[in-house]
């Protein structure tokens, strides 16, 4: 038996792929998360009200999603409805998170695969790929519009602080909102231009490979659905391989629908739905929503559905779906910032109490749930239901498909290493979150 190990880069966190082969037959393809910090254990005994400060540290890439999910879980436990202003600010936080994440995944993580370089930052200005250095600067400008939006709405762009139990610490002043809006308006055409180029290079890649990543259909899971996705999240929707709706349930019922399995070869668990492979993240949302509700994003969505059908299943389409969402998040944030964001109460008063709470948001990688049990004001038990965990089975299935494509009894095609990278990056897994 031969064991092939592929270290992974240009993803969030520490992971590797291990493929076992005997005489050309692929025996297994494992996605191994290799880090563990033990957040579910280390927050035991901590004061519940500190969760919005502590748990963003699960992940520096997804800290905004954890910050908002923590606040929502505590509000659920305390029986609080935050005021409208707080909801607007929190939606802006989630949009900033989406812009940052999709720009990072598209341009920094996966664009190098299209251009055949190791990193956007390593492109020699004198080389043929000169265009790429221009891409790096413009990509960072788009990404920065997202991180600055988190900064304006959240106080700081990594591990934000402004969402608090009951609301937010402050709104956004008219001048700060106007300035942010201008920055987003400047970023929007650049994002569209970069995405057009990304789409072209993806088509070229698909033609070179002869596939967009063939894989079996899967079930899709998301906390957004319908006509205008709100990443603040209210309920989880599951759809089947044909796009048929299977279930719609609140976060607190997740155990009735989802199974979790631990493996001994990875510090991340994997989830499934009634024995079916699940998929979360961009393609799940693009398959589930009917319309995004902003003009440019809806144009891209229409083009996507006309070209690839709905639901679409090919793996590299996750990346294209991410681009559509980048455009949507920019447009939607521009809309929201036009309304006054410093009017009305920032927060409602509350009385802490013991009990259980669930907080759901649609993070860039899919539905994220925080579940806390509070006793004497302290965390007695915590669970983090991480979007990447929904994708682990799908990642491993796609890796087996890639392995079978490039491994024969005589040889291993060197394209396999690149294929492994492309497959994993299409799912944009977050290992810091998945292991936490």
């Amino acid at each position: 038996m031969t064991t092939l190990t592929f270290p992974l880069s240009r993803i969030e966190g520490h992971a590797r792929v291990v493929i076992e082969v005997r005489e050309g037959a692929v025996l297994s393809a494992h996605f191994q998360a290799t880090e563990l910090r033990g957040f579910e254990y280390l927050i035991k005994g901590a004061p519940a009200e500190q969760m919005p400060v502590i748990v963003p540290r699960i992940c520096g890439v997804c800290s905004t999603a954890h910050h908002v999910a923590a606040v929502k879980a505590l509000e659920d436990a305390y029986g609080i409805e935050p005021p409208p202003l707080a909801l607007q600010i929190r939606e802006l936080l989630m949009l900033g998170q989406l812009i940052q994440n999709q720009a990072t995944s598209l341009f920094i993580f996966t664009m190098p695969d299209r251009l055949g370089v190791a990193s956007l930052f390593q492109v020699d200005a004198a080389s043929e790929a000169e265009a790429a250095s221009g891409i790096a600067v413009r990509a960072l400008q788009v990404r920065k519009a997202g991180t600055d939006l988190i900064g304006v709405a959240g106080g700081q762009f990594i591990h934000p602080v402004k969402a608090v139990i009951g609301g937010v610490t402050s709104g956004i002043t008219p001048s700060a909102a106007a300035q942010m809006r201008e920055q987003l308006q400047a970023a929007l055409p650049i994002a569209c231009e970069l995405f057009d180029y990304y789409w072209e290079t993806s088509v070229a890649l698909g033609e070179r490979l002869g596939t967009w990543g063939d894989d079996e259909p899967a079930c899709y899971i998301s906390a957004v659905s319908g006509l205008r996705p709100n990443f603040y999240g209210d309920a989880i929707r599951l759809v089947g391989c044909e796009g048929d709706s299977c279930a719609l349930f609140p976060a607190r019922h997740f155990r009735e629908y989802l199974s979790y399995d631990d493996t001994d070869y990875s510090y991340a668990a994997k989830s499934s739905y009634q024995g079916n492979v699940l998929r979360a993240n961009s393609l799940a949302r693009i398959n589930i929503v009917e319309q995004l509700g902003t003009p440019c994003a809806d144009r891209y969505l229409k083009q996507f559905k006309a070209t690839f059908g709905s639901p679409a299943h090919a793996i590299l389409l996750f990346d294209l779906a991410r681009g559509i969402e980048l455009v949507y998040a920019l447009e939607r944030a521009i809309e929201l910032l036009a309304a006054p964001l410093d009017v009305g109460p920032e927060a409602v008063p509350y009385t802490p109490r013991d009990g259980e709470g669930y907080g759901l948001v649609e993070a860039p990688r899919g539905p994220l749930i925080h579940h806390y049990r509070i006793e004497n004001g302290l965390i007695a038990q915590a669970e983090f239901i991480i979007p990447t965990v929904h994708n682990v089975l799908a990642i491993e299935r796609a890796l087996r498909v890639a392995a079978n494509r490039y491994i024969t009894a005589d040889s291993v095609n060197l394209e396999l290493e690149r294929a492994v990278g492309r497959v994993v990056r299409a799912f944009d897994p977050c290992i810091a979150c998945a292991t936490h």
């Binding site: 520490h14 520096g60 990193s119 106080g155």
Partner: protein, 283 residues
């Protein structure tokens, strides 16, 4: 053109994300290794090696020892690499056994060390860049000219909120409760803000946004070479001078193992007995 690498140990990647926002380095530096954004299998020879994350697994330990020989200058970035960070709360006696038992159900993976370590417990560090994470401005300062970086001594000096003599709270509000006045000192309003002795240089984004400082930059120069007791005492003196909060409430707030100082400095202050970091080395 100088070059640099970023070694990522066990952490959250927040430091790397912050570095990406300090994009001015693109003009002056070549980034040769950083798994988050560059496909390269090993740390090559570099002028500057930034190290983020704590030493949690045997793989962290191995990578750290290997990488160090390739660098002219070693910079520890972020609280995990410097003093443990939030993730080090897993080393509390009351949760360690559960945590290790969970880890031991796994095989063929990097093994957890019995406890996690800041990197200067293993290798020599030339400069420290504390923060959770350090801001992009701080990253630029450490990569360009650290000695020219100008900052307030403490977060308090950079916060800009008004301190009032006649507004003395009777009780602590904790981090989350109450309406926050946008202009008045958070201690005047009853929040357990420890910006008065936390290192400046971050420009106080949290307190400006209405959230108390939680001390992620660690102690200011006045306390960094001293025992944790000096830091505790200073904060207690500030609250005694500015509030009528009973001393026992304050002690309970500050010294419970999960609160305030311990949140980010756990491995330093939980009986580590580590030698002090020289303030000249800390940005």
């Amino acid at each position: 053109m100088k070059n640099f690498a970023v070694l990522q140990l066990s952490g959250c990647a927040g430091c790397e994300v912050s570095l990406l926002n300090a994009d001015a380095w693109i003009k002056d530096y070549r980034l040769l290794y950083m798994p988050l954004v560059v496909s390269a299998h090993d740390v090559p020879d570099v002028d500057v090696l930034l190290i983020s994350g704590g030493v949690r697994t045997d793989e962290d330990l191995y990578k750290l020892r290997r990488a160090i020989h390739h660098a002219q200058q070693v910079v520890a970035v972020g609280t995990c690499a410097i003093s443990g960070g939030v993730a080090n709360l897993g080393d509390r006696d009351e949760v360690r056994a559960l945590f290790m038992a969970h880890a031991e159900e796994h095989h063929d993976l990097p093994r957890l060390l019995p406890r996690s370590h800041p990197i200067d417990a293993i290798v020599e560090v030339d400069r420290y860049l504390p923060g959770c994470p350090p801001t992009p401005e701080l990253f630029m300062a450490v990569l360009s000219d650290p000695d020219a970086f100008v900052a307030g001594r403490t977060v308090c000096h950079e916060c800009g909120r008004k301190k009032l003599k006649d507004m003395r709270p009777q009780k602590l509000l904790g981090f989350q409760q109450g309406h926050v006045d946008p202009d008045i000192c958070l201690i005047n309003q009853g929040y357990l803000c420890i910006g008065s002795s936390t290192r400046g240089g971050c420009r106080a984004p949290c307190t400006r946004a209405g959230h108390p400082c939680v001390g992620c930059r660690g102690p200011s120069d006045a306390f960094i070479e001293k025992e944790s007791e000096a830091w505790f005492t200073s904060i207690q003196r500030v609250f005694a001078a500015m509030t009528d909060v009973p001393e026992e409430d304050l002690t309970a707030g500050l010294r419970s193992p999960q609160m305030a100082l311990f949140l980010f400095q756990f491995s330093d202050y939980a009986g580590g007995g580590r030698p002090a970091r020289l303030k000249e080395k800390v940005l």
